[in-house]
């Protein structure tokens, strides 16, 4: 199946999900349907970024899903996004979480000895303060502030 056909198939499935959502009354099925839709959207993301000749393999059931935009991260959650084994590479600066997966300066999800999956506010301030770097990076979400994080625990 070519790339366009794959994408169209996923779009049909998403449409079907939307119809289901309309008819679902309980919160549980809605939550499951939403999760499933989220996985399908990730499949679309993959199809869009396929290398030439690469076969599409649905990742819908895998856990390596890019975080939802606007998600709030704890330190432990952020640590998972270290760029390795299929995970995207995220870093936090001043409370905002950025995606550096495709940032040229982050080869192998590392930069001058620093690793993705970490809060690099201090390091950024000491090296790049005032430089227009962050605005070029996709924003993924925010860091949970430490008070909220300890409240949650």
């Amino acid at each position: 199946m070519n790339r366009r056909d794959e994408a169209n198939k996923v779009i049909c499935e998403l449409n079907a999900c939307l119809n289901l959502l309309n008819s679902a009354n309980d919160a549980d099925p809605k939550s499951n349907i939403l999760n499933y839709m989220r996985c399908k959207i990730y499949d679309l993301y993959l199809i869009n970024n396929l290398e030439t000749g690469q076969e599409f393999i649905s990742q819908a059931n895998k856990k390596s899903f890019p975080a939802q935009s606007g998600q709030t991260f704890t330190k432990q959650e952020l640590a998972k996004y270290n760029g390795k084994n299929g995970m995207p590479a995220y870093v936090a600066v001043d409370g905002i979480v950025y995606d550096v997966s495709n940032s040229a300066a982050w080869g192998a999800a590392t930069h001058f000895g620093l690793s993705a999956g970490n809060d690099l506010t201090t390091q950024f301030a000491s090296c790049h303060a005032g430089q227009p770097i962050l605005q070029k990076l996709p924003q993924i979400g925010k860091m949970m502030n430490e008070q909220s994080e300890s409240d949650q625990r």
Partner: protein
């Protein structure tokens, strides 16, 4: 002179002109007027080997028409105290000091003794201070001399320091592991013909250290298209494997190495940032496979 035409990038016109001018002016001179001391310190002595790999100008041209090379541990005929006396004698003459290797400072510098002068050990630290003070120009050649390099890699057992950290004067920095021979001969030519070259904020000559490897990489379009290598030898961009081209400002993509025959990325290995400050600790890991999914 054909290889001069291989550098087609318009940004390198200064370098092309420089090379032609150097060859023309220096060939006419009978005896070079300037002395060159090339100190090998705490390192692998790979930069003098790299210098021997240069062409147009080659090493023969360098010592015949450009400078009098009066001291070098790898190449000089003299040995022992006779060699040491040459170091003393050059202090009274106009000379340029080139230093490769870091400066071991542990145990007062006794971790690297480069000779015995008048019955006493001459440490790398003593030698670089002695020669560095009076030199007309000091050029740190290679990563170790510029910022410690591999010699100073954590935990830095010999407490290696950069040349600039032990001298209280300006040092022209030519980082690289090794330094490309052209970066040295081009800088030397500029000094001899026109004076000190224009330097960036890290004292690297802008002639050679201005654009990043990423900026002019032959695989750049693959990066833009998201076509990434998953292993060495693949044709894709090696960003995911850990290529440091985006943070390394050298002209390797256009100058290439060894008479323009190849360069690391042409050989399907990523740039390991050997010419950037922070090499090697901050450029690791050099090779990663677990980011390539």
């Amino acid at each position: 002179m054909n290889n001069l035409n291989q550098i087609n990038d318009s940004e390198d016109n200064l370098v092309n002109c420089l090379m032609r001018e150097a060859h023309s002016r220096f060939s006419k001179s009978e005896n070079p007027q300037m002395n060159l001391v090339w100190l090998e310190l705490t390192g692998c002595s790979g930069n003098i080997i790299s210098l021997l790999d240069g062409d147009h100008p080659d090493f023969s041209f360098l010592i015949t028409h450009m400078v009098n090379l009066v001291y070098n541990n790898s190449l000089m005929a003299a040995e022992g105290n006779v060699a040491m006396q040459k170091l003393k004698a050059v202090l009274e003459t106009p000379y340029i000091l080139a230093v490769e290797g870091a400066v071991a400072t542990a145990n007062n510098g006794y971790y690297n003794i480069i000779g015995q002068m008048d019955g006493k050990p001459l440490t790398a630290l003593m030698a670089v201070k002695m020669l560095g003070e009076r030199a007309l120009h000091v050029i740190a050649v290679g990563a170790c001399a510029c910022h410690g390099g591999v010699s100073a890699a954590s935990p830095n057992p010999a407490k290696c320091a950069a040349v600039r950290d032990v001298l209280e004067r300006k040092v022209i920095e030519l980082p690289g592991c090794p330094c490309h021979p052209d970066w040295f001969t081009g800088t030397l030519a500029h000094i001899l013909l026109y004076g000190e070259p224009e330097l960036d904020e890290q004292n690297r000559p802008l002639m050679f250290y201005i654009h990043t490897v990423h900026d002019r990489c032959e695989r750049r379009s693959l990066f833009e298209q998201g076509i990434f290598a998953k292993k060495l030898g693949d044709e894709g961009c090696m960003f995911k494997i850990g290529c440091r081209g985006p943070v390394t400002p050298t002209d390797c993509p256009v100058r290439k190495w060894n008479q323009h025959v190849n360069w690391p990325i042409g050989g399907s290995t990523p740039c390991i940032g050997c010419a950037q400050f922070g090499f090697p600790d901050k450029m690791e890991p050099f090779i990663s496979y677990d980011v390539t999914e």
